[in-house]
């Protein structure tokens, strides 16, 4: 695929969504302020929502990180080739920023780590959980994640919400897979404890 500008030029036929995104990106690169305003208006809610959900409980960092996503997008917009939608491309940048934050946070020595046994016990009754109303359950999940120590919530979000393996996480933060598994086991234990006690 060619550059943003060359692909956007002289399109007279009906444009596909991918081509529309390229034309839109070209207008932003041309410093069209109206296109730039539309860029912010169109994508800021979805990026904000994603980042906010992934940074629990650090809501104080969300605004800065969302702004970083848009600045990185501006710095790299000339590399956008339309292989994915502009929204998908932006979400990719957001995911990268979020993972950088996870990486930096989980590299720090964990004050919660202890030598206690990390053996787990089964979840009380999965059928009961399945019966919960979905919306209430999501709110409850958020509440519990927010109440957890940051190390635990980030580890769970990275492992399950971002679907990264313990091995990947270990490699990214320079710890052993076993250490990551241990942190995850404790995070799951603590999550379950708070979940069962209605936090």
């Amino acid at each position: 695929m060619g550059s943003v500008k060359s692909q956007a030029d002289n399109r007279s036929r009906e444009r596909t969504p991918g081509e529309q995104d390229l034309v839109f990106a070209a207008a932003i690169l041309d410093k069209d302020r109206k296109a730039t305003a539309e860029f912010v208006g169109r994508y800021s809610d979805s990026i904000y929502s994603y980042v906010r959900h992934r940074l629990i409980p650090r809501s104080d960092l969300v605004d800065d990180l969302v702004q970083d996503v848009f600045l990185a997008a501006w710095d790299n917009l000339d590399k956008f080739r339309g292989a994915s939608s502009l929204q998908g491309w932006l979400l990719g940048i957001a995911r990268h920023k979020v993972e950088s934050y996870y990486r930096a946070s989980l590299r720090e020595p964990d004050p919660i780590e202890s030598d206690r046994d990390s053996d787990s016990v089964p979840v009380d009754d999965p059928r009961l959980e399945e019966a919960l109303d979905r919306e209430r359950m999501e709110a409850r999940t958020r509440r519990v994640l927010e109440s957890l120590p940051e190390t635990y919530s980030l580890a769970l979000l990275w492992r399950y919400w971002e679907k990264r393996t313990a091995r990947d996480i270990a490699r990214d933060i320079g710890k052993t897979e076993k250490a990551v598994e241990r942190t995850l086991a404790r995070a799951r234990d603590e999550f379950r404890r708070r979940w069962n006690h209605g936090e």
């Binding site: 207008a27 041309d30 410093k31 069209d32 302020r33 109206k34 296109a35 730039t36 305003a37 539309e38 860029f39 912010v40 208006g41 800021s44 809610d45 979805s46 990026i47 904000y48 929502s49 906010r52 959900h53 605004d63 969302v66 702004q67 848009f70 600045l71 501006w74 053996d119 787990s120 016990v121 089964p122 979840v123 999965p126 959980e129 979905r134 359950m137 999501e138 999940t141 769970l156 492992r159 399950y160 919400w161 679907k163 086991a185 799951r188 999550f191 379950r192």
Partner: protein, 114 residues
């Protein structure tokens, strides 16, 4: 113990999956949108003038101040100027959530959450 870990793994995967997709998207604060826009425009200005107002994408419309610049005899020279820098709407938009800005086609008014 491996079984209980598998069960927990499944439970957390299920929790994560059940959330993605349909969960209601949170709206970004309007102040944040305004600040992002102002910062992006500042960044754009760092590498040269903005696109002239006469050449901006027509269907997105100009606010009343931009229109004044556009029709002035000096439009060719001043059309690249970021007039928002002088506008009270920008100041309000960056500082007040859902600021009471009612200018048509003002970018800061456009960021309001309704």
């Amino acid at each position: 113990m491996a079984n209980s870990r598998d069960t927990e793994d499944r439970f957390f995967r299920w929790l994560a999956d059940s959330e993605s997709g349909d969960s209601p998207a949170a709206s970004a604060p309007t102040r944040l949108k305004s600040n992002i826009y102002s910062t992006l425009i500042s960044r754009q200005e760092e590498s040269g003038p903005l696109r002239n107002l006469c050449e901006t994408t027509a269907d997105r419309g100009l606010c009343v101040f931009e229109r004044l610049v556009e029709i002035s005899p000096l439009a060719e020279k001043t059309g690249s100027f970021n007039i928002c820098r002088l506008c009270h709407a920008r100041v309000l938009g960056e500082r007040v959530e859902n600021a009471p800005i009612y200018w048509g086609n003002c970018p800061y008014a456009g960021f309001q959450n309704h």
